[in-house]
C-alpha cells in the first residue's frame, strides 16, 4: 500500500466556474446577490416587488433556479425585468456552471444588479458558491423563529437576512419571536443586516431598498 497526499478541493469544478463568475461581475462592475431560503418563504414575491418599486433607480436582472417549471420566471417577467430560468431537474441547488451559462443570456450591460433566486432549500445551496458578491437569506415567520439555530450554515454565511411575511404576526396568527430569530442569527453572524418585511403589504421594504441601493453603488 502506498499513501498519496492529494489535498485538493473536492468541489474544484464548481469553484472554477464560481471564480469565473466573480471575474465576470467584477469586470462588468455589477453586483450579484444569491437569494437562499426554504421553499415558500416569499423570495419571488420580494423580488417582484423590489423590481417594480425600484424600477426608476435600479435595473435588476434575475436568474431563477427551480427543480422544475418556469412559474417563477413568468412572475418575474410580468415586471418586465429580464429573467433566465434554470431547471435543475431534481438537483437541490444551483451550480456555478449553470449560473455561468445563464448570465450570458442576460443583457448584463444594461443592468445594475443580478439576483440569483436559488432552489428553495436552506441546506445544500449554502455549500455551492455561485460567484455572487453576497448571499441573502430569507426566512418567513410561518417557518418558525428557530431556523437560524437549526440551519446555522446559511445564516453564518449570509450578508443580510429578510424576515418576511411579518403581516402574519398581526392578530397572533403565527408565533414567531422576531427578537429571538435576530439574536440567534447575530450570534452566528454579528454584522448581518436584518430587515423585517412584508413583501405583500410593503411594510419594512424601504430599509431593504436603501441597503440594496447603497450596496450596488459600492461595487
Amino acid at each position: 500500500m502506498k499513501k498519496v497526499d492529494v489535498v485538493k478541493k473536492i468541489l474544484y469544478a464548481n469553484e472554477k466556474y464560481a471564480l469565473e463568475n466573480v471575474l465576470f461581475f467584477a469586470e462588468h462592475k455589477k453586483l450579484c446577490l444569491n437569494m437562499i431560503s426554504s421553499p415558500g418563504s416569499g423570495k419571488t414575491t420580494i423580488l417582484a416587488r423590489t423590481i417594480s418599486d425600484l424600477k426608476e433607480r435600479i435595473k435588476i436582472g434575475v436568474i431563477e433556479g427551480d427543480i422544475q417549471t418556469d412559474i417563477d420566471a413568468e412572475r418575474i417577467s410580468r415586471t418586465k425585468a429580464p429573467v433566465v430560468q434554470i431547471n435543475t431537474d431534481g438537483a437541490c441547488h444551483l451550480s456555478a456552471a449553470q449560473v455561468s451559462a445563464a448570465i450570458r443570456e442576460l443583457p448584463v450591460k444594461e443592468l445594475d444588479l443580478v439576483v440569483i433566486e436559488n432552489v428553495g432549500n436552506l441546506v445544500c445551496p449554502s455549500d455551492f458558491d455561485l460567484g455572487e458578491n453576497a448571499k441573502i437569506v430569507v426566512l418567513s415567520v410561518a417557518e418558525g423563529d428557530d431556523k437560524p439555530i437549526k440551519y446555522p450554515g446559511i445564516f453564518a454565511k449570509s450578508k443580510a437576512m429578510l424576515i418576511n411575511k411579518i403581516d402574519l404576526l398581526e392578530g397572533g396568527l403565527v408565533d414567531f419571536d422576531i427578537e429571538r430569530a435576530k439574536t440567534d442569527a447575530r450570534r452566528l453572524n454579528k454584522d448581518m443586516e436584518i430587515f423585517t418585511v412584508s413583501a405583500k403589504t410593503g411594510e419594512g421594504m424601504n430599509d431593504w431598498y436603501a441597503w440594496l441601493t447603497e450596496s450596488f453603488k459600492n461595487v
Binding site: M1, K2, K3, V4, D5, V6, V7, K8, K9, I10, L11, Y12, A13, N14, A91, C92, H93, S95, V123, C124, S126, D127, F128, I149, P152, G153, A156, K157, R187, L188, N189, K190
Partner: protein
C-alpha cells in the same frame, strides 16, 4: 441530497490520481468544515453507488470533520464553536467572529501496490 454531486467530484478526482500513479485506489481520506452540509452516511452511500464500474469501486472512505473556529471579541482567543451553544469556550462571551470554515478537501488516497 447534494452529496451525490460531492461523490461524483470525488470519484473523478480519485480516478485522475489513480491514472497518474497507475495503481488501484483502495481508500481515501477527506475532510470538511463545521458549516459544511455533508452527511457521512449519505455521502458514503452515494460514493459507493457512483464508484461502481470505475477505478474507485469498493474503496473505503474516511470523513474527517474539522471543527468550526471562531475568534472571541471579548478575550481575543480562538476557539472551536459548538453551533448548538455558540459561545466562547474560555470566557463564555457570546460575541465572536466566525473564522473561515475548512473547505471540503480530498486529503489523501491509499493506492494498492503489488
Amino acid at each position: 441530497m447534494h452529496e451525490t454531486m460531492v461523490a461524483e467530484s470525488l470519484v473523478a478526482a480519485i480516478s485522475a490520481e489513480a491514472v497518474k500513479h497507475n495503481a488501484k485506489p483502495v481508500a481515501a481520506r477527506i475532510s470538511c468544515g463545521g458549516l459544511s452540509a455533508v452527511n457521512d452516511e449519505i455521502l458514503c452511500f452515494a460514493f459507493e453507488a457512483i464508484a461502481r464500474d470505475t477505478p474507485c469501486e469498493g474503496m473505503k472512505l474516511q470523513i474527517e470533520h474539522k471543527p468550526l473556529r471562531a475568534k472571541c471579541r471579548n478575550c481575543s482567543r480562538d476557539f472551536d464553536v459548538d453551533l448548538s451553544m455558540p459561545k466562547c469556550s474560555e470566557c463564555n462571551s457570546e460575541s465572536f467572529k466566525l473564522l473561515a470554515d475548512a473547505p471540503l478537501l480530498l486529503e489523501e488516497i491509499e493506492l494498492q501496490t503489488d
